[in-house]
């Protein structure tokens, strides 16, 4: 039973490492498809009365001189065409819009343009927000936890964020401001899971019957104790996120995708990474002994 649990955790850990590397490779190769929020450019949402496939649309747009555009068929049946500021200009966009109107009776639902400089400012700001969030969360962890647990929780955090970014790189779904918000929410969520498990580990280490037990066994028990909580919370949150994905419209689908991925890998990492790593770093009851000797005395004094 015990070896079983440990095996699962080890497999999870290896899987996590593999996924992180795969994500990093994907990001390095394919990059991330930053949305208009970050790059600037032209977004045109059009409605085409007759049904066309993505390939047909691509061909048609190519004939109209639209190259290197990102073409998406949205859930409500409208087409979203995104062009970077360097690839086109105001006049050209108007030109193909009117061409498409006369040839396919397409109507423009929404057209927007954003300068490239705005994007640069936003990347700076977004990066700053991410960095700030990470730093304050690390600071919080350092105050809150024994260093082995804190380091493991941060690694789990890194794991969750990188894999989510990897998914966006692999699928080339646009990374916009709402995805950034989702990433920050994932940071909070992932940490929360790690802390609940970590707290259990600490609690059990103080219990008489686990004092002499190998730390792996203590961790197993902590995971078992908190498993139902972790699963229930993840499932209810996942259910709400999926309902956003399904019903809340095209504007929030990438946001929901990021959260969905983040919550799923966050749950796995809280079990396989943030709880497993401390074991290899030599976590034991003795780590707490000096720091909390008084608390220990009290515990020992109890019958």
């Amino acid at each position: 039973m015990k070896s079983n649990m440990q095996h699962i955790r080890l497999i999870g850990l290896i899987l996590g490492v593999v996924l992180v590397f795969a994500s990093l490779v994907t990001i390095a190769q394919k990059g991330i498809a930053f949305g208009q929020d970050f790059t600037g450019g032209y977004v045109t949402v059009i409605d085409v009365p007759k049904s066309v496939t993505v390939d047909e649309m691509q061909l048609k747009l190519h004939q109209l001189g639209v190259d290197n555009a990102r073409i998406d068929l949205q859930m409500d049946g409208s087409w979203r065409i995104f062009q970077t500021p360097s690839s086109t200009n105001d006049l050209k966009v108007k030109e193909w819009n009117s061409e498409l109107n006369s040839q396919w009776h397409a109507t423009v639902l929404d057209a927007s343009y954003l300068g490239a400089q705005v994007g640069d400012e936003l990347i700076e700001q977004g990066g700053l927000a991410g960095l700030f969030a990470l730093l304050s969360v690390l600071l919080y962890l350092a105050c809150r936890f024994e260093w082995r647990l804190a380091v493991s929780a941060s690694i789990a955090l890194f794991h969750d964020v990188v894999i989510t970014l990897g998914l966006f790189s692999a699928t080339q779904v646009e990374f916009d401001l709402t995805v950034l918000a989702a990433l920050l929410a994932i940071i909070g969520y992932s940490l929360n899971d790690s802390i609940v498990v970590g707290d259990r580990v600490r609690e059990l280490l103080f219990e008489e019957r686990y004092k002499q037990a190998p730390v792996a066994k203590v961790i197993d028990q902590a995971i078992k104790d908190s498993l139902s909580r972790t699963l229930i919370t993840s499932l209810t949150t996942l259910a709400t996120v999926l309902s956003i994905w399904w019903l809340a419209g095209a504007g929030l689908s990438s946001f929901a995708m990021a959260l969905c991925c983040g919550i799923a890998v966050g749950t796995l990492s809280s079990l396989a990474i943030s709880a497993t790593l401390p074991q290899f770093m030599g976590l034991s009851y003795n780590n707490y002994r000096k720091e909390e000797s008084e608390a220990t005395k009290k515990q020992l004094a109890e019958p």
Binding site: Y113, L114, G115, Q117, V118, E121, Q125, L128, A129, F132, A133, S136, V137, Y140, R144, L177, T178, L180, A181, L184, A185, I187, G188, Y189, L191, N192, I195, V196, D199, D225, S226, S228, R229, I232, T233, L235, T236, T237, L238, A239, T240, V241, S243, I244, W246, L247, A248, G249, G251, L252, F255, A256, L259
Partner: protein, 609 residues
């Protein structure tokens, strides 16, 4: 004896929790009342009134016919303050119908207004529904052009004025009056005898404007001095002017009380502003579009800049300001002892020093307050309008705090104070695009957002009921309390705007709020399996779970606050909902469900006896 002790302790417990119960109930009731206005969303009406000095000639049937002929279905028309209020069947068409009426009757003043539909008693409380963002409620979009060229031109003009002033004061007779030519450079021509004068003027000017490049050319007997901005300086100035315009506009919008506004740079010279929920763009337009600049000047008897005051009298002022609008830290409108409107200014310490230094040497002399504003003329050109708004005699040595008296009206005073608070704008801005976004797309977004909320909520509630049975009922009640409290809190707090990502935050909050209950209930289950009675298990379960709950919410709070601080636009909406959701989750998950389970199980035990 033991019985009495037990009774005592029990009595003590109930009084303390009665107190707690009372407060909890009060908070819930207040927040429920705050949430109720959301059941009565505002409706958009078209207000039709005769414009000034006109009589309302159009009749109700005529108005109705006009609209129905164009395919707008009119729900009802009521008379209101000498005009009419028109309500359409389809509120999404309101803005379109307004444009139609306005085009037909240009003698009318036609506006879209947002009217409350609340019952009278609720209206009386002054509560309002949550403000909706541009994506949910439509709103106004502005694109502004920042006229950097004009700003550079006006800087050159002040160099020319300054040069002219030096020329007159020093009696340089052999120099032409400095002129701005080609909107690029300042040109001064000297005759043969004027060479030394030109040299002296050039040196003085170079001292005052070190960043200007000067160039001297001789042709025939004349020498021409040209002053201009070097290319690098132009680029720097351009960047500086854009940054200033952005930050000033942001603070103006904040002064208007619109927090969800998006202010972004668009292209090289444009700024895009989205004002959600605003249906009548006129006030916003006046505040945002104004390029007001205030400066304080000494008077001159001859030369200098000639500026008219309200009555048309020409006043000569020293073109170099004692201090400008950027030294003003804060400004408030008020009234003096005679009830006349005034604007009270608070200067920065450097501004205070400047005015102190100047007023010390000039007690008894006049000082002019100059107000400059750009506007677009009927031919579409940007023009500068400069006016002396007051000439006051300096009565005493002035410091960082003083007032501009004799304002035209309280409204003018308030607007001037607002503009001064928001900071100065050196480059004129003009609105090049203005669009009132109808609420039809918003209605679709609200519908889909709330569908997602309903689905997420029902899955969660169903799961809790099936998994925890009786305890689940507590979770369900506390979740509903949580949702209502969150909506109440969002309606209560000013500046909270609900956007589509905000609804996502609401849905996510529901998903995560269960966590608090789950952590507690899992502890309770564990304690129960160890053989504790329900009452003890509940009590200890709440205690043991507290540290996990605090941690869980604190980590989310950290990220929510960072998002709130750095993000803007839709992300800010998400962050606000998330942060407020944490507060209500703790309230509902810990306090409300704690009290509920206490009363539920103690009643059951009594009933069991």
């Amino acid at each position: 004896m033991q019985n009495i002790e037990q009774l005592n302790s029990k009595h003590g417990m109930t009084t303390s929790s009665r107190f707690k119960k009372f407060f909890t109930a009060i908070i819930i009731v207040i927040l429920i009342i705050c949430a109720t206005p959301n059941l009565y969303p505002n409706k958009n009406l078209i207000q039709v009134q005769a414009s000034a000095n006109n009589v309302l000639v159009v009749s109700v049937p005529e108005l109705k016919n006009n609209l129905e002929n164009e395919g707008f279905k009119v729900k009802k028309v009521i008379s209101h303050q000498g005009g009419y209020l028109v309500e359409l069947e389809n509120r999404a068409l309101t803005a379109e119908a307004r444009a139609h009426i306005a085009a037909l009757h240009n003698e009318l003043n036609v506006k879209v207004i947002s009217a409350s539909t609340m019952p009278l008693w609720l209206e009386y409380t002054g509560l309002k529904p949550i403000k909706l963002g541009l994506d949910l409620d439509g709103g106004v979009l502005f694109v502004l052009k920042v006229d950097v060229e004009q700003a550079m031109l006006s800087q050159l003009q002040s160099v020319a004025d300054e040069a002219n002033s030096i020329r007159i004061n020093n009696r340089y007779r052999h120099l032409s009056s400095p002129q701005v030519v080609n909107a690029q450079e300042v040109e001064i021509v000297a005759t043969v005898q004027g060479k030394t004068e030109l040299q002296a003027l050039s040196t003085t000017l170079r001292d005052r404007y070190p960043h200007l490049s000067s160039n001297r050319k001789a042709h025939g007997s004349l020498t021409t001095l040209t002053l201009s901005f070097p290319e690098a300086k132009k680029i720097e100035l351009h960047k500086q002017l854009m940054t200033q315009a952005l930050s000033t506009l942001r603070s103006r919008i904040e002064e208007l009380g619109i927090t969800e506004a998006v202010t972004q740079r668009q292209g090289d010279n444009y700024i895009r502003i989205e004002l959600p929920g605003v249906q009548d763009p006129d006030q916003a337009k006046r505040i945002i579009g104004a390029t007001a600049k205030l400066s304080f000047h000494a008077l001159q008897t001859a030369g200098g800049q000639r500026i008219k005051d309200k009555l048309g009298n020409v006043i000569n002022i020293d073109p170099t300001a004692i201090f400008g609008g950027d030294e003003i830290e804060s400004a408030t409108a008020g009234r003096d002892e005679y009830g006349k409107p005034l604007v009270e200014l608070f200067l920065s310490s450097s501004g205070g020093k400047k005015i102190n230094h100047f007023s010390r040497q000039n007690v008894g002399k006049p000082m002019a307050t100059v107000f400059a504003q750009y506007y677009v003329s009927t031919s579409g050109e940007t023009k500068k309008h400069t006016e002396v708004i007051s000439v006051a005699t300096i009565q005493q040595v002035l410091n960082t705090r003083f007032s501009i008296t004799n304002m035209q009206s309280m409204e003018r005073a308030q607007e001037l104070a607002l503009l001064l608070r928001a900071g100065s704008l050196d480059a004129p801005i003009t609105i090049v695009k203005e669009q009132t976004i109808g609420p039809s797309l918003g209605e679709k977004n609200i519908e889909s957002g709330f569908k997602a909320l309903a689905l997420g909520l029902s899955i969660t509630l169903l799961f809790m009921a099936l998994w925890y049975r009786k305890l689940g009922v507590i979770a369900i009640i506390s979740l509903l309390v949580n949702l209502v409290c969150l909506i109440g809190l969002m309606s209560l707090l000013p500046g909270v705007v609900l956007t589509l990502p905000g609804i996502a935050g609401l849905v996510l909050t529901i998903g995560m709020a269960v966590d608090t209950n789950v952590i507690i209930f899992e502890r309770v289950r564990e304690l129960r399996s160890k053989g504790a009675t329900m009452v003890i298990a509940l009590k200890q379960g709440y205690q043991q779970a507290m540290s996990s709950i605090v941690d869980a919410n604190l980590t989310t709070m950290i990220t929510a606050l960072i998002l709130l601080g750095i993000g803007y636009g839709p992300v800010k909406g998400f962050a606000i909902t998330l942060a407020l959701g944490i507060v209500t989750s703790i309230f509902a998950g810990v306090i409300v469900s704690g009290l509920l389970s206490e009363s539920l199980y103690s009643q059951q035990r009594q009933g069991g006896k």
